[in-house]
Structures are given as structure tokens and as C-alpha cells.
């Protein structure tokens, strides 16, 4: 297989020579160097924190695995300095088509408007994403990435967590103020804290094949119900970089994985789908999925993020993307708590916001899965009715569920200040900021998401000018649109997307979510909103 398999050497660390009362103390230990752990470590390091990042393997995982990265994830990766590299390599897409039999039922466009820096989605093999993230880690002195370091024991103390770590040179110990478990769906840290991970297991099996071929299919997501080449079941076709195509075929629940995975059995299925057999296999995997989450994402000083905390079915691209949203949500909060600028209670909002997001992702992906694999004769009958109605009615098309793709959650959170003024649009408190094209001081085109990065990815006031600049509390970043020295909103899209009038101001959190918004902010209301969003009350 022609995979980019990047291996990394184990290197002995001086911490391993320390024992007893002399063992090393670290502020943050992140366990698991997958997309979530790597991104979290980078975000924390860019905020000035020192991070020890442990991984039990010595290389990036095989197979493409996660392939769809959302606009929100790309905007996060822009803040980490690697968004462009991901987009340059990735396959950009925004259109999906749904077929029933041979007939196209409908198509959707996930980003039908212009004026955004990032597309709705890119497809990129997870191993590329991880390789680019590892490269970025190498540029940051704050991250100490240790391969073949496996956490084997965890002891919670009042003010730290004591970890025992196994290496090729034997075990060693270290202490961490906070441990962030990004160690995946089979998280061993989750078992160490004794947390349950209950949920729903789906019996239907799905076959994933990544095949290499040159083909003229457009870069769209194609989903079939009951296609002629795979009668009675569903199929998905999606393009990745390097002429790799992701094919996902639903199998029956009694299929034997060992037999179904054999290339000689997969080949005829794919050949029927493509109408030829001029392709090579890159990766074949068979999976069942589960939808479940931990009750609590925070266990004392051990905090769970990504698949270790929640698992969804893959239809909807809600796995890796929600893990990345966990990372961007946690990084700034942990940074503030460690600096002492916010109380430890701020971390609880991570659980509140991200567990609600996990519930939403589980709900959406469960609905998609149930639609693809009905649980009873009557469910199958209702689905049949929807598919047949979709041929001639708009509402039928909208009910066809071939996966609802990940969009950022809107948080109902104690960090938000409720709207006091009247709004007809714009992102409400708890929603993520919207992008828009603007121009800088010298007329250079740029995007609002870039202006946010320039202002320091911290609490930032986005203000639509109304004479003199608003008084901004100390330490706050400022983005000013219009007025002297402000950004120019020549197309008026920023104002339209934020329902702005002169004087309108949005308080953005360091993760780019809206904390509060005001028609005419005053110093005291901004101070109060900032305190609330910082967990100080």
C-alpha cells in the first residue's frame, strides 16, 4: 500500500531518570497524538503553555479513516497556522447528491454563498492531517511530543495527577496538573478513571474501501439508497486527494467481517459499482458503529476530548470534527485557569457545551443511521414512503436522510450574556462567528476570520464603527469595521451577516464563539459580559 506512513523515533527523555520525590511536574499532559490531541497541544502551546504530548505508538495510524473536515475545523486549523496546508492538499467540496436506484432524488449545497475564506468541507486522509499537525508541533518549542510512551496507571491527587508511563526503556512517573485524554474510542484512561461509556450499538455492518483510480466523477458526495449495483442497501462515494476514492457499502448485519474484508470478495462489489475493475485497493475496513458518550467529560483533573468522550456513526462527519471542536473549546479555558485569570469553574463550561454538542451529534447521526438501516418493517415502510414521495415533493426530499453534515453547535451556556437588544439576524450568543470578506487598511482583501487571528485569538470586540471607537476593556482584542483605520466592508456582507447597525458590537470568545452582542455597548455591560464569559461571577 502506498500510504504516507510516517514513523517517529522513540527518544529517551530526562524525565525518565527522575524518581521518588524528584519526579517531574508538568502543567499539562495530553494523552494521544491523533488529530484532537495534536490540535489541542498546538493551541495550548500557541497560548504560551508547555505541553507534554504522549502517544503509545511510534507512527501515524494507517488508513484514511476520517476524511471530511468541516469549515469550522479548517477555521480552527487556520488559527493553528496549518489551515492552508490542509486546504492545499485536500479536495474541496460543498455539493452532495442523493440517489435512489438509478435516479437522482436531489442535491444540496452546504455553502451556497460566496465570501467565506474556507469551503464547507475538504476531504483529506486523516494521516495527512496528522502528519501536518506533527510538523507544526515541531515548530513550537512548547510541545514535548513523546512517542511510545504509554500511560499505564493514573492516580488522582488533590492538586495533580500522578501518571505511570511505560516506554521501551521501562516505566517512569510524572505528575501533571491536568491530564487531557485524547486517546480515542477505546480510551484506556477512561477505564482508569472508571467511567462508563454506555450507548447504542448498531448491528448493521459497513464496508469501507479506499480505492485508487482515475475517474471523472465530480468532487461531490454521492449517496445511494438501493443502487442497482448494491441492491437493497446504501452506498457512498467520495473523492480524496491522490486519486483515492472512499467507497462505503452497507452490508447485512450477519456478514462475516473476516470474509467480507478479503480483497477478492470486495473487488466484485466495487467493480459492480464502478462498472469496471481498473482500480487498486488502498485500504479496506469493516465496521459497526456505536453512538455513546461519557456522562461527565471532566473527572477531577482528567479531562476527556474527542472519541474518548463520545462516539458517533460516521454519516455526517461528526467524529473528528466534533473532537476538534472539543479541542478549540478546551484550550483557551485551560490556558486561563492555569494562568489564574479564570477560576477552575470555567472548565465546567467545557463539559456543559461539549456534552450538549455530543448529544446533538449522537441524535443526528443516529437518525441518519436508522434511516439507512431501518429497525423494523414499519420503519422500512416509512422510509420507502419518504423515498417515493421525494421523487415528486419538496418535503419528501428534505426528509431523505443520507447523513446530515456537521455544523458548529450553538451552545446554551452560562458563559453567554442573553440578548437585551432586538436582532433580526446575525450569530446569537453561543453561536460561532461568521466569516465575511473585508479589506484592510491598505485595501488588501482579507476575511473576518483572519482579522480575528490578527487580533490575537483572544476575547475580542468586533465593532461596527459609530464615530469614535468604543471603549474596550483591558486585554481585549478589537476588530473595527468602518470608520478611521477600520476594516472596509465594501460588499456590506459583514454588516448583513451580523445584522449590524452603526455601534453594533459582538464580544467574541477566544474560540471564536459569540459571548454577547450589543447595539450600543457601554464599558460596564462589556465588563460584565467579559466576566461572565470568563467564568467569573
Amino acid at each position: 500500500m502506498a500510504l504516507t506512513k510516517t514513523r517517529f523515533g522513540y527518544r529517551r527523555h530526562p524525565d525518565q531518570d527522575r524518581a521518588g520525590a524528584n519526579i517531574a511536574d508538568h502543567a499539562i499532559v495530553v494523552v494521544g497524538a491523533g488529530p484532537v490531541g495534536l490540535s489541542l497541544a498546538i493551541d495550548l502551546a500557541q497560548r504560551g503553555q508547555s505541553v507534554v504530548l504522549l502517544d503509545d505508538a511510534d507512527r501515524i495510524g494507517e488508513g484514511s479513516r476520517a476524511i471530511c473536515f468541516s469549515k469550522r475545523s479548517l477555521e480552527f486549523w487556520d488559527r493553528l497556522g496549518i489551515g492552508q496546508r490542509m486546504v492545499d492538499k485536500g479536495v474541496v467540496w460543498s455539493v452532495g447528491k442523493i440517489f435512489h436506484g438509478e435516479q437522482q432524488l436531489y442535491q444540496f449545497n452546504l455553502l451556497p454563498e460566496q465570501g467565506h475564506k474556507r469551503p464547507a468541507f475538504i476531504n483529506l486522509q486523516q494521516f495527512y492531517a496528522e502528519a501536518y499537525l506533527v510538523d507544526r508541533v515541531g515548530e513550537l518549542p512548547g510541545i514535548d511530543l513523546r512517542w511510545r510512551n504509554k500511560v499505564t496507571a493514573l492516580e488522582p491527587r488533590n492538586d495533580h495527577v500522578a501518571l505511570t508511563i511505560q516506554t521501551p526503556d521501562g516505566p517512569y512517573r510524572l505528575n501533571a496538573q491536568y491530564v487531557i485524554a485524547c486517546d480515542g474510542a477505546r480510551s484506556s484512561l477512561r477505564q482508569m478513571v472508571g467511567a462508563e461509556f454506555a450507548g447504542q450499538v448498531f448491528e448493521d455492518q459497513f464496508l469501507i474501501a479506499d480505492v485508487k483510480m482515475t475517474a471523472a466523477f465530480p468532487t461531490e458526495r454521492w449517496f445511494w439508497f438501493d443502487p442497482p449495483f448494491h441492491a437493497g442497501r446504501s452506498a457512498l462515494l467520495h473523492k480524496q486527494p491522490d486519486d483515492i476514492w472512499r467507497i462505503d457499502l452497507q452490508l447485512n448485519r450477519f456478514a462475516d467481517p473476516a470474509i467480507e474484508k478479503l480483497p477478492e470478495n470486495v473487488r466484485p462489489r466495487i467493480a459492480r459499482m464502478l462498472g469496471h475493475d481498473k482500480f487498486d485497493f488502498e485500504w479496506i475496513s469493516l465496521y459497526k458503529f456505536q453512538c455513546r458518550r461519557m456522562n461527565k467529560f471532566i473527572h477531577g483533573r482528567v479531562i476527556f476530548a474527542g472519541d474518548s468522550a463520545h462516539q458517533v456513526s460516521p454519516f455526517g462527519a461528526r467524529g473528528a470534527n466534533s473532537g476538534l471542536e472539543d479541542a478549540e473549546n478546551l484550550a483557551w479555558k485551560l490556558d486561563r485557569v492555569l494562568r489564574g485569570t479564570s477560576p477552575e469553574a470555567l472548565l465546567e463550561s467545557y463539559h456543559i457545551e461539549r456534552s450538549a454538542a455530543a448529544d446533538e451529534n449522537i441524535r443526528e447521526s443516529t437518525r441518519s443511521t436508522d434511516f439507512m438501516a431501518p429497525n423494523s418493517h414499519q420503519e422500512a415502510r416509512l422510509r420507502k414512503a419518504v423515498l417515493s414521495l421525494a421523487k415528486e415533493t419538496e418535503f419528501g426530499k428534505r426528509m431523505v436522510n443520507g447523513g446530515r453534515l456537521s455544523t458548529p453547535s450553538v451552545y446554551a451556556t452560562p458563559l453567554s450574556t442573553a440578548d437585551g437588544d432586538s436582532w433580526r439576524g446575525g450569530p446569537r450568543p453561543g453561536a460561532s462567528m461568521l466569516d465575511a470578506p473585508v479589506a484592510g487598511e491598505r485595501g488588501e482583501p482579507m476575511f473576518l476570520t483572519e482579522a480575528f487571528i490578527k487580533s490575537g485569538t483572544r476575547f475580542t470586540l468586533l465593532e461596527f464603527s459609530n464615530g469614535a471607537a468604543a471603549e474596550v476593556p483591558e486585554g481585549l482584542g478589537a476588530i473595527r469595521i468602518g470608520g478611521d483605520g477600520g476594516l472596509v466592508d465594501s460588499a456590506g456582507l459583514a454588516a448583513a451577516r451580523y445584522d449590524a447597525k452603526p455601534g453594533t458590537a459582538y464580544l467574541l470568545r477566544p474560540d471564536g464563539y459569540v459571548a454577547a452582542r450589543f447595539r450600543h455597548p457601554t464599558g460596564p455591560v462589556l465588563d460584565a459580559a467579559l466576566a461572565l464569559a470568563s467564568g467569573i461571577n
Partner: protein, 76 residues
């Protein structure tokens, strides 16, 4: 808006008849298919999730009552 359980048709017999006739000549399987489509079409026409949930609750309550009656009869 709440679920209306007042009699809304000027001639309720006509409405009942229309549904009955739609099922004439169909097998049970075909009838079930027809009902499934009809429920979805009418639910969309109502377009109000609260009303739909009330209607589902009302329909389910009939079923529970029926099964309770059956149990009582069996006990007698």
C-alpha cells in the same frame, strides 16, 4: 396551535369514505404502504411538531385503551 379534535369536515362521512375507498382492493401490505405515505403527507401539511406529537399521543392512547380492555376481558 393545539390539535383540533372538533369535527372539522362539513360531511365527516365523505372524509371517512374517501379514506376507506383508497384502501379498497389493496392487500394489507399495500394498505400499510398507503397509510405510511398518507401519514407523512398529512403530517407535512400540518407542519407543526406540537400538533403532530399531540396527534401521536392521542392515537397511542387509543391503542393502550384497547389493549387494557383486551386484558380485562381475558381476566374475566
Amino acid at each position: 396551535m393545539a390539535l383540533s379534535t372538533a369535527s372539522n369536515f362539513a360531511k365527516p362521512d365523505d372524509a371517512f369514505r374517501a379514506i376507506v375507498e383508497a384502501h379498497r382492493g389493496l392487500s394489507d401490505e399495500q394498505s400499510a404502504d398507503l397509510d405510511a405515505a398518507l401519514v407523512l403527507i398529512l403530517a407535512n401539511h400540518i407542519g407543526d411538531l406540537d400538533v403532530l406529537n399531540e396527534a401521536i399521543a392521542l392515537a397511542k392512547r387509543r391503542m393502550l385503551d384497547a389493549s387494557e380492555q383486551q386484558q380485562q376481558q381475558q381476566q374475566q
